[in-house]
Symmetry: C2
């Protein structure tokens, strides 16, 4: 079919009509951007959440499925520095799902929507014989010209990430292992996985203060999303393994198989932000933004390679190994 | 689960946060309506097209699946009198679909998008083990305050429909029967089913000229959609069977089972428009709008019943018998 999502997206953008009056940014960034009014741009994004792909019916509570589905789309708005306003929810519902599941799903969506003052204004619903498919559309707004893109990183810019990476992937490991640990590290991981919070305020801060040269959200893992940001910007990067905020792993069944750095590099669904800051503005980035920690993990370079540097080891090239819907089809 | 989509939509609108700054119309009409600029409102709609529900893999060509998926959403914009501008396409693609199918699908979407000057600006894609699910989001615009709704019909208003009703359902009958007829009546039905055209220009005309008091598109069949318009407006209707533009049926295998009036009353996916016009403005409705015929089929009444009148027969109550995703689950 296609070797990767990147290939598919490139194929698609050549095929479909991609120009229109008022269109600022089409296929290829976290979201699309259009001019809505003289002083305001609108951000449009749509995200699928699919049973057995994005969630497991017998593992994820319905409310968590709802919260994660909406968080994915809100995070795309955060990744452009915008404010989410409206959501539409399309639902191809498995005929096996009971009404209580539907109640849980929309309960999870509603709670997160209320927290960010997002109105649910429409959608579509059908019953299917296959797995449930949820598509969440979010409309956000941003002041004219202030939306941040993936494509603005320049050599010498410093690379930052928010929060803790790999925490959601660790939460999934715990869920799958059936862990009942109530230790703080395990609770944090389960919370990050089941009830992710999009980094709306951080994205707004970065765009309004004109601090970031490029911004992307970490939905598919650092190795994949840093690769996308670099490809869009026509640059490469060097990151220091010791600077990456890896998750703390305590004692649990199966825990010996979980490598904190691998989880942080390739684990998806953290919905943290990855951004680049020109050297002259780095001093304005605080290490703690309203309780969210910010970490300086590397630097943009002219060479298009992405290198992972470790103390006492040779630099190694970092290849995308996060989730890719097309790649997983390959042998 | 729920006895009907109407019940589900009522349940859902109580559950989710449905108010927001700038929101003019939320869940319950053909599309949502929000204030985008001082002089302009935006229409937002999303429509699912699902394998084995909305189309059959071995019967519908891929390009037809694409055109029908986009036409469904464009028709919702027509049903508010708006102009479509942008589309996003989310695709949960069956792992069994070959690349040629994907090419056909997006080819069909692209051709229709180009015809209406709609830019495809984003979406999401994943591979699934079940049936393919396509969700098309369309953003349209309309001058401030000019969007037409389902809810404005008043007793005495005259009821009009465009085009020919039941033609798409007849096309599906022909497809299923494997008909190879090339007669004009059969070609028209197959074209209406496989390559529907949304009535964008007619919707724009009705809203800009302030001619219609209420407007809805015929996506699920006259009996269902007239019922929705009447329920939203708090009124009922009388329609004359002889006035309904039923499809012409010639000779074909199985044709003796196809009843033109039943197809016109309950067949879905015609994407024609159903609208009501105050008596004082009826003289301004031409019978031919740029090649699309307009038919006066009945009248809005205070009593909430919907009556079907036939020459020489007792009035009978018309109940919704178009497609309903929830109702089909009931025994």
């Amino acid at each position: 079919m296609f070797a990767s999502e990147t290939q598919f997206v490139e194929w698609l953008s050549r095929l479909v009509p991609g120009r229109g009056r008022g269109l600022l940014l089409g296929i290829g960034d976290d979201a699309a951007l259009v001019r809505a009014a003289a002083d305001r741009d609108w951000i449009l994004t749509t995200d699928l959440s699919i049973e057995s792909v994005h969630y497991l019916r017998h593992l994820h509570p319905a409310a968590s499925v709802g919260q994660r589905a909406l968080a994915r789309a809100l995070s795309d708005v955060a990744a452009m520095g915008g404010t989410p306003r409206f959501a539409l929810v399309s639902l191809a519902l498995s005929q096996e799902a009971p009404r209580s599941w539907l109640q849980g799903l929309f309960g999870g969506i509603s709670r997160l929507a209320r927290r960010y003052d997002v109105a649910v204004i429409g959608g579509d619903t059908a019953i299917v014989s296959g797995p449930t498919v949820i598509d969440v559309v979010v409309v956000g707004e941003v002041r004219k010209g202030e939306a941040l893109r993936r494509s603005g990183a320049r050599p010498g810019d410093q690379i930052f990430v928010s929060g803790s990476l790999g925490l959601s992937a660790l939460g999934l490991c715990l869920l799958k292992a059936g862990s009942r640990s109530r230790a703080a590290w395990a609770s944090a991981a389960l919370r990050a996985h089941c009830h992710p919070e999009p980094q709306i305020r951080l994205g707004q801060f970065l765009s309004r203060q004109h601090l970031a040269s490029a911004l992307i959200d970490l939905s598919d893992g650092l190795s994949s999303d840093l690769g996308r940001l670099c490809r869009s910007s026509g640059v490469g990067a060097r990151i220091w393994a010791e600077r990456i905020p890896v998750p703390r792993i305590g004692r649990a069944r199966g825990a010996h198989q979980w490598d904190p750095l691998q989880l942080a590099l390739h684990g998806g669904e953290d919905y943290q932000l990855l951004f680049t800051v020109p050297a002259a503005k780095v001093s304005r980035i605080r290490s703690n933004f309203h309780g969210v920690h910010l970490f300086q993990i590397g630097e943009i370079q002219r060479s298009k390679k992405i290198l992972l540097l470790r103390a006492g080891a040779k630099p190694e090239e970092l290849h995308p190994a996060g989730y890719d819907h097309f790649r997983k089809l390959l042998p």
